[in-house]
Symmetry: C2
Subunit: 386 residues, 2 copies
C-alpha cells in the first residue's frame, strides 16, 4: 500500500535529513544548556540558538536577530503577545477565519472583561472583506490580529493591505504565520507587522516543540513579560530582565529542537521560499483541477484558486461523512488527511461547514504530483463504490 | 585531555542511548502530531504521550495519568500554576532558597499588587527552619511554594513536614522538583503536594524542551487556564476545555521531546530511583570528604552531608574568583562546572555568597568515582600553583 501524507497543515511529517542530523549532533556531541555555563560546550549551545535567530530574521527580512524569541509552539508565542500587550478597555479587531490559537485567548480576554472584540465576518470563501474590516476599526482599537492564511481553506489574507491600515492608524498589528512561514514569502518590512508569530514544525520543517515570534521595536517595548523565571542573565535580580530575547524566554529552551529548526532554516533559505511556494502552488492547482473534474458531489471550500491559497484544501462529498472518508483514505488507501473542525470553529461557520467540519488535504515541499494523482484516483474510487 | 561533565544540576548532558533511539524512531517512523488526526500514525503519537504520562504518574506514586500536563520546561509549568491559582489578596509563603523560576513569578505578582509574599529566611546551610516557616503562615495564606532541593547547595527541604503543615491548614502546596525528579524518591501521597513540578532534562534524563506538573484533584479544579489555544478537543467551542490534560496543554506539544522523555522514564523506572540516589549519594560523600581534606582555603556551602543534599555542591576557594576557577577547570582540565549565581540570588544571599556567587559541581547517574577523584586532583593542582 502507498503511504501518502497529506496533513502538512498540521505538521510536516517529512523533514530534510539535515534536521535530525543536527539534533543527533546536538544530543550526542553537545548536550549542554545555553546561556548558563562558561565552558566551551555551553557556548556551542548558545551558537546554535543565535544562528537560528539569525536565520528567522533573514527569512522575514528583519533587522535584529535579538527581536526573535522562541517558545514551545505558536500558541504559546501568541498567548505571550496577546496577554502581554492588551490592557483593560482595549478594542481588538480580528477575522472570522482565525485558529483557536488566536480566537481562544482573545475570547478569554473578552470573557474576563479585559478587552472588547470584533470578529469581522469573512466571505464563504474565507476571504477578508477589506471595507468591512476597515469599518470595524474604532478610535479605541488597539490591536489587529489576523492569520496570514487559513488552516481550513488555505485562503491567503491581505496582510500587506491590513498592515497599511494598521500603520496609518498606529494600531498594533499581529500576524499569525503558523500556516505560511517557510511556505509563502514573508517580508516584515512590507507587511509592517509588529508581531510575526511562527511555528517551527510546519512549513519551517523543524521539529515540534519550537515556535516563536519576530518582533518590531514597538513590540519589544510595549509587550510585557507574562512568563517569569531564570534567564541566565541579571541573575542578581528577582525582577525579570527587560531586554531581548530574555524578556520573553524563561527557563531552559528546547535547544535540541532549535538545533533541528536551525538546520531546517538552512535548507529552506538554500532552496528558497519562492521555489517552495511554486512547487506547492503547482500541486494545489493540479489537485483543485482534479477535484473539480471528479464529480459534482465534491464540494470544495475556499477560493478554489491556487494563487489565492496555500496548499490546504478542504472538501466535503455529498452523502459522505468527512470523518468516514478520512478513515477510509487512511485504512484502505494509506492516505493521511484530517477531518473535523481543525481547531477553527469560526472558520467552519464562515465557510458553512459547521458543526460537521470538512475533509482537509494539505501538501508540502516533499509532496509529489504522483501523490496528488493517487489521492484523486482514490477519491474517485470511493465515489464509484457508492 | 579528560572531558568531565559536572553540571548535571543544569542539564543531564549524558542520556541513556534509548533516549535518542526513541526520538529518532518518532522523527523517522512517526512524525505526526498527536490528538489531532484520525489516521493510525497520528494515534502512534498519542500513545507515546499517554505512555509518558503513565510513567510520570508511576514515578510520583500518583493515581491519574491525566493529572500530568507537559510544558516547555519547569519554569513555564510553575508559571501556569502560580498565575493560574493565585488571586488578588492571597498571601504566599516560600523560602529564601528558591530558584528564579519560583522567585521571579512570585515577585512579579507581589510587585503588581496581586499577592503578599513572605520569603522565609533559611540557615546559612540552606536548611529550612521549620518553626520560623510555620510562624510565617497567616490566616490569609493561600499557597506554600518550596523547592524540593536547592540548585545552589543541593540542600534537601523537609517537603513531607511542610506538606503536613499545608494539609492541616488547607493551604495549596506547590513543590518545585526541578532538582529532584528522577534523583530522589518522590511520593505524591507522602508529600501531600497539590503540585509536583518537574523538568524533563535534568534528573529525568530526557531532552530539553520537556517539563510539566503532576496535579492533585484540588489543583485540577482550582488552577485556571492561563494559556489558551487549540487542543484538538471541543473544537466547536471558543472556550478552552476545562478537563485534563487539555486544560493546561495548548497547541502542538513537543512530541519528539516527550518520546525521548518517555524512553528516559523507562530507563529510570527500570534502574530504580533508590539505586540512582545511592550512586549519587556515594559520589557526593566522596567529593565532600575530598574537598574537606583538600585545603582550608576551600569553603564548602550547604549541609556538607551527603544524606542531607543532592549531588550538587557549591564551593569557593579563598583568593580565587569562582568564574576564573571554572574557566581554568574547563580549559586546562576539561571539567565542566558552573560559576556565578545559578539563577538564585536569594539562595546566594542566604548562604552568604552574594553577589560573587560560587563554583558549583553537580553529578549524575553517569558520573563516576574516577571523575570525582580527577576533579579533586585538579582542584589540588590549581591550589598548589598559587
Amino acid at each position: 500500500m502507498h503511504k501518502v501524507y497529506a496533513d502538512y497543515a498540521a505538521t510536516s511529517k517529512h523533514k530534510p535529513p539535515e534536521v535530525w542530523e543536527a539534533m543527533e549532533h546536538y544530543l550526542k556531541e553537545i548536550g549542554t544548556s545555553p546561556g548558563r555555563g562558561g565552558y566551551s560546550l555551553g557556548l556551542e549551545a548558545d551558537r546554535i540558538i543565535f544562528s537560528a535567530r539569525q536565520k528567522i530574521t533573514r527569512l522575514f527580512n528583519g533587522d535584529k536577530q535579538n527581536n526573535v524569541f522562541f517558545s514551545l509552539n505558536v500558541t504559546h508565542a501568541l498567548n505571550s503577545v496577546l496577554k502581554g500587550f492588551l490592557k483593560k478597555g482595549d478594542h481588538v479587531v480580528t477575522s472570522s477565519m482565525e485558529h483557536n490559537a488566536v480566537a481562544r485567548p482573545l475570547k478569554a480576554l473578552e470573557d474576563s472583561g479585559i478587552i472588547e472584540l470584533t470578529m469581522v465576518q469573512c466571505t464563504k470563501e474565507g476571504l477578508l472583506p477589506q471595507d468591512e474590516f476597515e469599518k470595524a476599526i474604532r478610535p479605541d482599537t488597539r490591536m489587529i490580529v489576523i492569520t496570514h492564511a487559513s488552516n481550513v481553506t488555505g485562503t491567503i489574507m491581505p496582510v500587506k493591505e491590513v498592515g497599511e491600515i494598521a500603520a496609518s492608524k498606529g494600531i498594533f498589528y499581529v500576524v499569525d504565520c503558523a500556516q505560511t512561514a517557510g511556505v509563502l514569502p514573508i517580508d516584515s518590512k512590507e507587511i509592517k507587522a509588529d508581531v510575526l508569530a511562527f511555528t517551527g514544525h510546519k512549513g519551517l520543517l523543524g521539529p515540534q516543540g519550537t515556535g516563536g515570534c519576530y518582533l518590531s521595536e514597538r513590540a519589544v517595548q510595549e509587550i510585557f513579560t507574562t512568563v517569569h523565571g531564570g534567564t541566565g542573565s541579571k541573575s542578581d535580580l528577582l525582577t525579570h530582565p527587560d531586554f531581548m530575547p530574555d524578556k520573553f524566554e524563561s527557563g531552559t529552551p528546547n535547544t535540541m529542537g532549535i538545533a533541528g529548526l536551525n538546520a531546517a532554516l538552512d535548507w529552506i533559505l538554500r532552496r528558497g521560499v519562492h521555489d517552495i511556494r511554486a512547487h506547492e502552488e503547482k500541486l494545489t492547482r493540479l489537485f483543485l483541477k482534479g477535484l473539480q473534474e471528479l464529480s459534482d458531489k465534491v464540494i470544495i471550500y475556499g477560493p478554489q484558486d491556487a494563487a489565492q491559497q496555500t496548499s490546504t484544501v478542504s472538501i466535503n462529498m455529498e452523502g459522505y461523512d468527512a470523518g468516514e472518508v478520512s478513515f477510509i483514505l487512511d485504512r484502505i488507501y494509506g492516505i493521511m488527511t484530517r477531518s473535523g473542525l481543525h481547531c477553527a470553529p469560526c472558520a467552519h461557520q464562515t465557510i458553512e461547514s459547521f458543526p460537521e467540519g470538512t475533509l482537509r488535504f494539505s501538501f508540502g515541499i516533499f509532496s509529489t504530483a504522483e501523490e496528488v494523482e493517487y489521492i484523486l484516483d482514490s477519491l474517485g474510487d470511493i465515489l464509484a463504490q457508492k
